[in-house]
Amino acid sequence: MREISFNKFYRKFNILSLVLIVISLIFLIFKGLNYGVDFKGGTLIELRTTDKTNNISLIRDSFNQMNLGDVSVKKFGNETDFIVKFEKQNSNDPEFIKNIQNKLSSSIGDVDFRRVENVGPKVSSELLKSGIIAISLSLAAMLLYIWIRFEWQFSLGAILAIFHDVIITLGIFSIFSLEINLSIVAAVLTIVGYSMNDTVVIFDRVRENLRKFSDIKIFELTNISINETLSRTIITSVTTLLALLSIYLFGGEILKGFSLAMILGVIFGTYSSIYIANPILVALNVSQRTIVKEEKD
């Protein structure tokens, strides 16, 4: 296979990544994330109407009359399926959901509540906390693992690549106001694992080549290593994306957010293991001495 000069574009793509990260951070800080009921508390109802003429505004109006706080209504897959979310959660009143259903039936015809989620403020803040802990813990565990397996320059590259992927993925969720719920946390953790996996494969090759060639500069050497592992990188991303795309398209509405986050994560994860992880090795001027010194210790 012909060699591609990835290294020519290190600088350009680094600038691009930096811009993307800054934009993502601006959105994350100023706009924030659109937390679902898992993390914000409140009630979620997935309902199916029997009357096809029902539309979002009609349903929103009926809910607004019930004094439930901020109400949001969205289509959910089918013509007749909707997701309704509102602030109020009153699960202690056993009649709460039943009353809503009765009122709704009288205003818009028969409705079937397919799913009800009701999360109190205490639980939602705990779930948010444990989600943040889980993500931080996995980052720390990855850092520890790669620190044991590689030299610190490599660890830094891999961790920055992961941060890059997570920040941009979350940034996209913020920009498009996509909902963050428990399954997104699972997706982010898997992205962390995948991005690491991808970076490790290239780094293993870089290290092997460092041992083999003492006269090639790291700038060239990373390019050789990227090219040598390129077909693997592409094939694995393609098969993973095929599987994820299948979940996104056919796995039902509930898995849409999860699979979208994963798809973004795999794309950015693949990109970052080439364009974030490697330039950092170049910037830190890694050479054969870096690994030989470590191995003597």
């Binding site: 639980v123 989600g131 699972a186 694992g193 490790v200 494969v201 599987a243």
Partner: protein
């Protein structure tokens, strides 16, 4: 790396067949229990309700503190030590003593053998922390005192919750402790959780108290309202009888009035108390109070000495049934709040299963076609490994009766996508090796050996993510971590045993061909 002994080949085949068998046992019915294992479907797939209840321990704490004050008064009176000005400020008991008794009181309260302030050697702590300022003493629950109190109230509550859920008769409910003040209730297959919610939401504290003759509130009486909210009544605080003395309760029809009532029978102590109270109180109104609300207040026409009676009060058959159930199961030690509820209807669950299986099938097909396109014969080998990987994964999940959730299905599909990675790494490495090595057997061997560390590294990172998710995640997300984690193990097995075995057979047979891969 390419050599397989006969024994090894046989054990790989046997191992694969055994686990794959369990994957199929989901679809086939067997009489034998061991052979007809089924994967558990999570609540999001089979439909059902998930309720997280939290005990509100404040009333229990206040009650216990009031009881403690009475105990302290009695105890020190017996010892002829004067304590005065008892009061309860927040959750702190305050009292004063005379100056010359300070040391004495302090010693009694801090004694490891103390009768009024129990010492727990396992926690190295008393039930109460004692502070004194001059002759003013203050007692607070110690950390462990509070933990023990909460644990015992949780133990009681979980027992009552279990009885109530069992009485309703849902299939295989799952009731678990969470921390020291929460109870998790999982009710698979339950479509409408409203009834259970209303049953669990009631403390069911039943008391019988006389309605006071005076129309004004005074010492020893309290104002309670009727259940229907129509009016109030002044009720004597003295409790004639409480729900603890009930041995049975059931809904019946009163043949005279033709209304639904709840009949109850009392234990011996209760029957005695009830008989005594009703014989002195003929003509008075007896209020039947449930959770601070008067259900009804019939007049006592004659002494009730048989130890059984009826509660009337505008019941429908359903509400009488529920009240009887609550009375039979007993009162909760403290009110329970539902702080989280997730209910999935059975038809949505089925839709999720269908969508999950469809996307698994399509994802699988796409990956298989792509691998054949990329690697031809070796794509076929990788695909065979992938198929057996899937069977192994589902087989192991079934064998351990793991719970499969919707995100869990997503985890399986993701495993399908990522599992080929290891074979791809190996095949690509072999391709590189064949450039310099003419002997295919040596090249293949080198390909396997040199890619091994990379593959381990790559899989361990994903395994770490799965582990953390398993311990931190809850419900459906946990199901994802299980399939992802087990998926990595089965992937490694299918790559290093199944695919490698097939590769070695293929390479040895075709070693004279040009360009194998």
């Amino acid at each position: 790396m390419l050599y397989f002994s006969k024994l090894r080949i046989i054990s790989v085949i046997v191992f694969t067949i055994i686990f794959s068998y369990f994957a199929f046992s989901n679809f086939v019915k067997f009489d034998d229990k061991f052979f007809s294992k089924n994967i558990n479907l999570g609540l999001d797939l089979q439909g059902g309700s998930y309720l997280l209840l939290e005990i509100d321990n404040r009333p229990v704490i206040t009650q216990k503190l009031q009881a403690k004050i009475i105990e302290l008064k009695r105890y020190f009176k017996e010892k002829q030590i004067t304590l005065k000005n008892f009061s309860l400020k927040g959750d702190t008991i305050l009292f004063e003593t005379t100056d010359n008794e300070i040391e004495n009181v302090k010693n009694i309260l801090n004694d490891k053998e103390s009768d009024v302030n129990t010492y727990y050697p396992t926690y190295k702590s008393h039930e109460f922390d004692v502070l004194e300022d001059g002759n003013l003493f203050s007692l607070d629950y110690s950390r462990y005192g509070l933990v023990l109190l909460k644990n015992s109230s949780l133990d009681q509550a979980i027992e009552i919750v279990r009885r109530r859920v069992d009485e309703v008769g849902t299939n295989e409910p799952n009731i678990l402790k969470r921390g020291n003040d929460r109870i998790l209730v999982e009710l698979p297959g339950l479509d409408d959780p409203n009834r259970i919610k209303s049953l669990l939401g009631k403390t069911a504290n039943l008391t019988f108290q006389f309605i006071s003759q005076n129309n004004e509130e005074s010492f020893g009486t309290e104002k309670l309202s009727f259940e229907d909210g129509s009016r109030d009544a002044i009720v004597s605080k003295r409790i004639i009888l409480s729900g603890d003395n009930l041995v049975d309760a059931k809904p019946t029809m009163n043949s005279q009035t033709n209304e639904t009532v709840v009949s109850f029978s009392l234990d011996r102590v209760g029957a005695k108390k009830f008989g005594k109270a009703t014989s002195t109180g003929v003509g008075k109104q007896l209020a039947i109070v449930l959770d601070g609300k008067i259900i009804s207040a019939p007049s006592v026409r004659e002494p009730i000495i048989g130890g059984s009676g009826q509660i009337s009060g505008d019941f429908t058959f359903q509400s009488a049934t529920d009240l009887a159930l609550l009375l039979r199961s007993g009162a909760l030690p403290a009110p329970l709040n539902i702080i989280e509820e997730r209910t999935v209807g059975p038809d949505l669950g089925q839709d999720s299963i269908d969508a999950g299986i469809l996307s698994l099938f399509i994802g699988f097909l796409l990956v298989i076609l792509f691998m054949i396109y990329k690697y031809r014969a070796f794509g076929l080998i990788a695909n065979l490994a992938l198929v057996s990987n899937l069977f192994l994964l589902i087989g192991i999940l079934t064998l351990f009766e793991a719970t499969l959730t919707l995100p869990g299905i997503a985890g399986i599909i993701l495993t399908v996508g990522m599992a080929v990675d290891a074979n791809v790494l190996i095949f690509e490495r072999i391709k590189e090796e064949t450039k310099n090595e003419k002997n295919p057997i040596i090249a293949f061997d080198a390909g396997y050996t040199k890619s091994r560390t990379t593959i381990l590294d790559a899989n361990i990172t994903t395994l770490i993510a799965a582990f953390i998710l398993f311990f931190m995640g809850s419900g459906p997300v946990k199901g994802f971590s299980v399939t992802l984690g087990v998926g990595i193990l089965t992937t490694l097995f299918s790559v290093y045993f199944i695919a490698r075995l097939l590769t070695s057979l293929y390479v040895v047979k075709n070693k004279d061909k040009e360009q194998l891969l």
